[in-house]
Symmetry: C2
Subunit: 323 residues, 2 copies
């Protein structure tokens, strides 16, 4: 095939993480009207799944300082989606070490949520497996999101994938939390994930961050290598540098079921104002942490403080810390 | 090789097009102090070539409405670089159909310029060849930049490359003027360019635009396929959505001769202010023209007028025009 990009692969499914990952910028303090606008836009655009937030615990996050999408109580979700009469499924994320999943993840028959995504660092694999099996037993489709993949060494990745491929997850996601991967690395990791996932009937997904303006490119690369699940967010909204922009991903996929116009309308109606209220995107501080394979924490702190935009000082600080 | 990205290829050379392409945003009305700052930064960062502007003709561009970097008179260049005692070479671009190259390109011994880059559309190949041979005869290293490659059909690309490979150019550049390519297309084009260039001892370069946030990714892809010349600009400054950011490219290349700190310092010292005075970057209007493989002209006009940020209307307009 000389020009494979002009066709499309119908098996590729898109998850919107605008509220879930974007909420990491504003402590999930989105108003209902904004969340409803995202829900409506995703349905109109043909998005397959909307991740509406975390089901994390109020033991770990103050309910007065954090908005409802940090906890995703059933009543809060239903206030937005009602019984979700659409074809789009609803996902929530639970964090290992930060959620009271045994209690807070309801039996599926009592919830409008369809998919539980389990997020964990490599040292949390044992709890992650328990979370996965618990959610699966309760009736959910389950996804495993191994975070900060750019910091995990190869034997540990292999071991984790070996365990996950024997678990009840339907999807295993390459998560570039630090926005540090280049497409060649994404190719390497996606092939590795597929090697374990495919023979066991599981899908591979990609969740990219935009520190080096590579979130879209890494997502394309993963898809090119065989990934069939991709995360994106409207306007790229997400922690720090943000995620793969939905408006770019849907254009790339070329599946006629996806519609770009509702996304551009949402950017116009909702995001012009939001850009005045919240900050995200590939600012130099985020480039620097991405280039140096560091958590964006220091960059977020710098941009929220009086040393914002002092790129040279920040570059020196990060260079010294890791040397 | 399992991890080729940790080493570097010493033959890869970087050209800075901050002033030349950035000047398309402000009619090349940069002050001397800004141009000097870019010159100094590029030297400190280890950049191989700085493209300081166009040598276009005042018959086609008003000298009262356009700054000196549209014309690059020898005196103007020397006011910035003196005799250019650095190891970095100086380039100027000449446009087919818009330059009086016979007269305005001086014999090399009378100029501080080292490289002439000839920019042309595919219908201008005959003049481009004359321009190339003229500049070569005058003593310059010459580069051929076939613009708007995403709109040229394959037999015409092959024919052009066949002719260029027999000419006196040292480099042939893949120019994605519309910011429309995805990395798979860049792979295809780079391989084609290399097929003609390599056996004839010529290098292949890449000049990318950032409409789909893929300027860096497409540049990486071209390099991965064997390109050895790459254009970048500080802060991604360039027409419309801008170019491949220098701060990302130098980080990717990993050649110890390249230094990132001077680029971040320049972003801090020069670009925070510039961002308040000029606009460039992957705004939705530029995404839309990139996705639809259109010249950014309509997007630039929209963003400079009262319909700025009316993404839905712009999406409809472009969709209708090309259907």
């Amino acid at each position: 095939m000389n020009a494979p990009w002009i066709i499309y692969r119908p098996e590729i499914k898109v998850l919107d993480c605008t509220i879930r990952d974007g909420g990491l910028v504003n402590d999930h303090l989105f108003g209902d009207r904004f969340v409803q606008a995202i829900y409506k836009t995703c349905i109109e655009a043909g998005v397959d799944t909307m991740e509406i937030g975390y089901k994390n615990s109020d033991q770990f996050f103050s309910p007065t300082k954090n908005g409802p999408w940090k906890f995703c109580n059933e009543d809060d979700i239903r206030r937005i989606v009602d019984d979700n009469p659409s074809e789009m499924s609803i996902a929530c994320m639970i964090d290992a070490g930060k959620s009271n999943w045994k209690k807070d993840v309801l039996p599926k028959e009592k919830s409008v949520v369809d998919v539980i995504r389990v997020a964990f660092y490599v040292y949390q694999v044992p709890e992650a497996i328990e979370m996965i099996e618990d959610a699966f037993q309760k009736g959910y489709e389950v996804s495993a999101n191994l975070m900060a993949i750019s910091t995990v060494n190869d034997p540990e990745i292999d071991q984790t994938l070996d365990i996950l491929s024997q678990s009840s997850v339907s999807t295993i996601v390459v998560v570039d939390s630090y926005g540090s991967l280049i497409p060649e690395q994404t190719e390497y990791l996606t092939k590795k994930f597929l090697k374990y996932a495919k023979p066991n009937g599981k899908e591979v997904g990609i969740h990219a961050h935009n520190n080096q303006q590579l979130a879209f490119a890494n997502s394309i690369e993963a898809i090119r290598q065989g990934a069939t699940r991709v995360d994106a967010s409207i306007g790229g909204l997400g922690r720090g540098a943000g995620n793969c922009p939905m408006e770019l991903m849907l254009g790339f996929l070329r599946n006629p079921k996806f519609k770009l116009r509702p996304i551009y309308k949402c950017l116009e109606d909702q995001f012009l104002l939001l850009k005045c209220q919240m900050e995200w995107g590939p600012y130099p501080e985020y480039m620097i942490t991405g280039q140096k394979n560091q958590h964006p924490r220091a960059a977020i702190q710098a941009r929220e403080s009086e040393v914002r935009n002092q790129f040279t000082e920040f570059f020196d600080k990060i260079s010294q810390e890791i040397s």
